[in-house]
Symmetry: C2
DNA sequence: TTGACATATACCGTTATAGGCATATAATGA
DNA sequence: TCATTATATGCCTATAACGGTATATGTCAA
């Protein structure tokens, strides 16, 4: 067998560099296939295929506009990945660190009083 | 060509279910190979191979203890994945957004005084 | 209707795995 | 030293999936 889980889950969908690059472009707003191909210097069929994978996991949706198809990022499917990471992010997350520091300060002040 | 990027980057290392499961166990503390195999119901060679992949990207380290090898989680290599996700997480964690705004307000008030 | 443009799909060859199984390596204890 | 335990590695097979190229589908404009 190849890999147990296939591109049809978010983790694998996002594991591919070009697909991440596509998402990175789409984060700025919707784009037609051709423009993605230009920007990322990929052949159009390759882009279409990657978009298919991303679409299968719900990470992108598209609407037709004339002969073009505008693809749009959908963040929600990233949630499982995000939540999985939460277990590990403690030392990585500056926001939480900031909160942590704030709470520590509060405690210290209370102890002094 | 197969995939552009190989297991030797964090995104791919983490794309495999069993490897994520291994990390999920190790987050509680270091474990010997055999125990991982038991808990995850995997054959020992398979576990060793997954550990190799995880080790190659720095996600685990190990120390020998007698004939056993205790594997330990290293979170730092997750940073690229974490940072990549930051671009997309806004809508995923509204609570943190709210908290962030609150803390910013607090700081501003303190600066004013 | 025809031709140009935009995108999706199909087919092909190549390659990187993942799992299964056997075996090598290494440490311990009798 | 030898048997046992713990782990790593090597070999094999099957398969997923990437890129490349050709082609199908679909839309618009003249």
């Amino acid at each position: 067998m190849a890999r147990a889980s296939v591109t049809s889950d978010i983790f694998n969908a996002v594991a591919e560099v070009h697909r991440r690059e596509i998402l990175d472009v789409l984060v700025a707003g919707e784009r037609p296939v051709g423009e993605l191909a230009d920007v990322l210097r990929l052949a159009q069929p390759q882009v279409s295929k990657h978009l298919r994978v991303l679409s299968d996991v719900g990470l992108v949706t598209c609407r037709a506009e004339g002969r073009r198809r505008l693809y749009r990022l959908e963040q929600e499917p990233l949630r499982p990945l995000y939540e999985w990471m939460q277990k590990y992010e403690r030392s990585l997350n500056k926001r939480l660190d900031r909160l942590d520091g704030y709470l520590t300060d509060l405690q210290r002040k209370e102890e002094i009083q």
